[in-house]
């Protein structure tokens, strides 16, 4: 059993981390790169398969050499056995199409062909949600998206999943596919470890990986376009049919409301507050003050 989880490094868009210039453009140099937050769903799904079914788990990404740290982070959270980074200048500025071709080629190059590949649910920077499905299309595998629960029957070579229909938690269908298969995990995916043996395996993996993740670079394989035998005309900027003509910042909605802070210990301030609130209470036809 060989499973691969795909991940991507994205700018850390959290408050206090992300940095924009005056025109509202992202300052890449000032903003740290982190693992795409949605990829944790893919990683959790892959981990569940490793814990329940065993086998070898790899994490793969495409990006600049600095993404090695992102992969190291992924290794720690998913207890991965090894890491693959597809990286060189020819791959820069790829759109989802060129990225999908590159990832699919990387997956096919793996010595031990994967049985399952997991992708997250759209990235925090592009937000297209295309790369996973396009990669699967290149591989010509069955794909199950919006997966919230997963069972692997290794002996039968099949995978069974529960998935959200139209992204709605109220509507869940159960589907089956032969392996190899491509799985896109939904944010609603919750791994279940209801056996003591599962949790003991998790504990073993955690202990093993703690040592491995400390020098994750030793477990990292980097492939460039030559290793992948990819024609530069079909990858990177040259291979990307998407043309971004311009990016416009969305103007912030003007705030129309004013807020005044009142210290509850300030009796006069509180008095004013109650007076200000009174019309609203009266409008409800009831006394807010109580008897």
């Amino acid at each position: 059993m060989h499973t691969v989880a795909l991940t991507k490094g994205v700018p850390d868009f959290r408050e206090g981390q992300v940095s924009f210039d005056e025109d509202g453009h992202l300052e890449r140099g000032e903003t740290p790169t982190v693992m795409n937050p949605n990829d944790k769903h893919a990683l959790r799904t892959a981990l569940q398969v490793k814990v329940r079914n065993g086998g070898h788990l790899s994490v793969m990404s495409m990006g600049p050499p600095g993404y090695g740290d992102v992969l190291g982070e992924a290794m720690e959270s998913v207890y991965a056995d090894d890491l693959y980074l597809l990286s060189d200048r020819e791959l820069a500025a790829s759109d989802t199409w060129a990225t999908a071709i590159t990832l699919a080629t990387g997956l096919e190059k793996l010595e031990d062909p994967p049985d399952l590949v997991f992708a997250g649910f759209k990235t925090a920077d592009g937000e297209t949600g295309h790369t996973g499905p396009q990669t699967c299309w290149c591989l010509d595998w069955p794909m199950i998206t919006h997966v919230v629960a997963l069972d692997v029957d290794e002996a039968a070579g099949r995978v069974r999943a529960k998935r959200l229909v139209e992204g709605d938690i109220e509507e869940i269908e159960t589907v089956e596919a032969p392996m190899p298969a491509f799985i896109v995990a939904d944010p609603e995916f919750e791994p279940t470890y209801r056996k003591a043996a599962h949790r003991l395996t998790l504990k073993d993996l955690r202990a093993e990986t703690r040592e491995r993740a400390e020098d994750h670079e030793e477990h990292l394989t980097t492939w460039d376009h030559a290793d992948l035998n990819l024609d530069p005309d079909y990858i990177g900027l040259d291979g990307s049919p998407t043309i971004v003509s311009s990016v416009d910042p969305i103007p912030k909605a003007p705030a129309e409301r004013e807020a005044t802070m009142v210290d509850p210990a300030d009796a006069a301030g509180m008095e004013e507050l109650f007076e200000a609130m009174e019309p609203f209470a009266a409008a409800d036809g009831q006394s807010a003050a109580g008897d």
Binding site: R194, K195, A196, A197, R199, L200, K203, D204
Partner: protein, 557 residues
């Protein structure tokens, strides 16, 4: 009923000293063992006074089972032991080190988070080799039964697990022991309640203030009129860089006197006698509480039912007789004996005989007689009645009684009597030895304390605020069955995180007006609960532990 439940030869519930000793002994004998601990970490749900003893007479000691235990898991060895008789601001102290050393190979102060989490690592390593291991954050919720026989356990976080033996080491409030009908929460007389503060002592202050070296430690007990007649006493133990200071009272006495137990702790902390040790700056690391079984009454003489065996507090195996306070060592011995019993039962091809073999070992190895001493049973029959108590109190308090005490003291007979393990074993549970005698001794023979105590203990609100909780929102683990004040009002004062007139605790006293009449009721908010179990005994509740990983998390214990 499905057949794909997991099976382990042994399931041990709880990773305290009893569970750890059982699991380590089972694993060393090649028994596939899984340990299920409900805390986020072993020791995170545990509180002790606390000293752990290695007894010369015991078949197992904790350092025998876990080599390196004293080096890694304990604080200071106790090299001096005193009891202080307090009357107002007069104190008469006796050195009872001789009693402490009787049958003692060594005794160390411990903090449970450090101790239990270290043992859990050893247990996991040993048990993993058998195909099992130790899991935290898993709460065993009940017994798995088939055709009326116990065949395993059910859990909140896991599917049911089958086992050939279930070791219930799930503590004083053992839900498994209660489900099997082997223990109950009925009588306050069978329980003590301990309330404790762990007090920070910066590097070097213990050596200075106690006049001891780095590898020496003190134990102090306090009794007398400190506590308004509530039966019990105080303790102080030196850790490496902290002190454990607390009280242990008979729960029935707490209920009778409507005592606010946190105030009684403050009474001890602020007594002038404590000033010599506490200094100017008081910093409390942690406030905690625990129910303690009184083994003389609560130790189950036959602690098993089918494949279920009880060890440690779950079986009431906590010896508290006057100044002799030993629980963890008995849990360790019992755990190892239970494991031994299973290994033997299995090798004879009769795994179901584990319980009978365990019971026999507890008796043959002398554990049961320490827990339920024959001498106490005789003395209690004579001494624990109101007439005898009244006569003793009047005699002690009379001029003749005081004269007698002075005469005894001149020849050191009192100190020797206090240091006698023989007498301690037969001490009756009345106010005479706990309050009257110490107070009379303190008054008649004690020297006044002149130091000024500067300690300002935190309020109950601050103490609760300093504790770590992971609240299971919307899923309270305690439900009040009868909220009338008559049925459950005792919890308002006896609960260590509740007080009359305090709105931030577990139990609150309320007056409800309804249809022109007034009714006094109690309401409950389980958020500040420290899971001691007091209310399970003194109020009418449906009491369970929180789910795995939820509830209070002790950092010190």
């Amino acid at each position: 009923m499905t057949d794909d439940y997991e099976h382990y030869e042994a399931v041990v519930v709880g990773a305290g000293p009893g569970g750890a000793a059982a699991a380590a002994t089972l694993a060393r004998n090649g028994v596939e063992t899984v340990v299920l601990e409900r805390g986020v970490d072993a020791g995170s749900k545990n509180v002790t006074g606390g000293l752990i003893y290695a007894e010369e007479s015991a078949p197992y000691t904790v350092d025998g089972i876990f080599p390196g235990f004293r080096e890694h898991a304990t604080e200071r060895p106790i090299t001096e032991y005193y009891i202080h008789n307090v009357a107002g601001e007069s104190v008469k102290s006796f050195d009872i080190t001789a009693m402490h050393e009787h049958d003692t190979e060594w005794a160390d102060a411990v903090l449970r988070r450090k101790m239990d989490s270290w043992m859990a690592e050893q247990v996991h390593r040993l048990a993993r080799e058998t195909g099992g291991g130790l899991l935290t954050d898993v709460k065993v919720s009940g017994l798995l039964e088939e055709d009326g026989e116990i065949v395993g356990v059910t859990c909140e976080e896991l599917d049911p697990i089958r086992a050939d033996v279930v070791v219930a080491a799930d503590g004083v409030n053992s839900e498994l022991a209660r489900e099997a009908g082997l223990m109950d929460w009925e009588s306050p007389e069978e329980w003590f309640q301990g309330v404790k503060a762990v007090v920070d002592m910066p590097d070097g202050t213990i050596e200075d203030r106690f006049g001891i070296g780095e590898d020496e430690g003190h134990a102090h007990l306090f009794s007398g009129d400190l506590y308004d007649g509530v039966r019990g006493g105080g303790f102080l133990y030196t850790n490496e860089e902290s002190l454990c200071i607390g009280n242990v009272f008979h729960l029935d006495s707490i209920v009778e006197e409507r005592a606010e137990v946190q105030d009684l702790l403050d009474r001890l902390l602020t007594h002038p006698f404590m000033a010599q040790w506490l200094g100017e700056e008081y910093e409390e690391r942690e406030y905690s509480a625990k129910l303690v079984p009184d083994s003389k009454k609560a130790a189950n003489p036959s602690p098993y039912e089918g494949r279920l065996v009880l060890v440690g507090d779950a079986g009431g195996q906590m010896q508290a007789q006057g100044p002799i306070i030993k629980g963890m060592n008995h849990a360790v011995t019992a755990g190892a004996l239970a494991a031994e019993a299973f290994v033997e039962a299995r090798s004879r091809g009769k795994p179901d005989s584990v319980g009978a073999r365990y019971e026999r070992r507890l008796h043959d190895e002398g554990v049961m007689d320490k827990l339920r001493p024959r001498r106490y049973r005789v003395a209690a029959a004579l001494g624990e009645n109101d007439a005898a108590t009244g006569i003793a109190e009047r005699a002690l308090d009379s001029p003749v009684g005081r004269l007698g005490l002075r005469a005894l003291d001149r020849v050191d007979a009192l100190e020797r009597a206090y240091a006698s393990p023989y007498l301690a074993m037969m001490m009756p549970d009345t106010s005479v030895p706990y309050a009257t005698l110490p107070a009379v001794i303190g008054e008649a023979l004690g020297d006044p304390v002149r130091e000024e105590n500067h300690v300002e203990p935190p309020t109950l609100e601050e103490r609760i605020g300093d504790l770590t909780y992971d609240t299971d929102v919307g899923n309270p683990h305690i439900v009040v069955e009868d909220n009338s004040f008559d049925a459950s009002g005792a919890a308002v004062t006896a609960c260590p995180v509740s007080a009359e007139g305090f709105g931030g605790g577990c139990y609150r006293d309320e007056t409800v007006k309804q249809n022109g009449s007034e009714e006094r009721v109690v309401s409950l908010d389980t958020q500040p609960c420290v899971e001691c179990g007091t209310c399970a005994v003194v109020a009418d509740t449906r009491w369970e532990h929180p789910r795995g990983g939820k509830g209070v998390e002790f950092e010190q214990g």
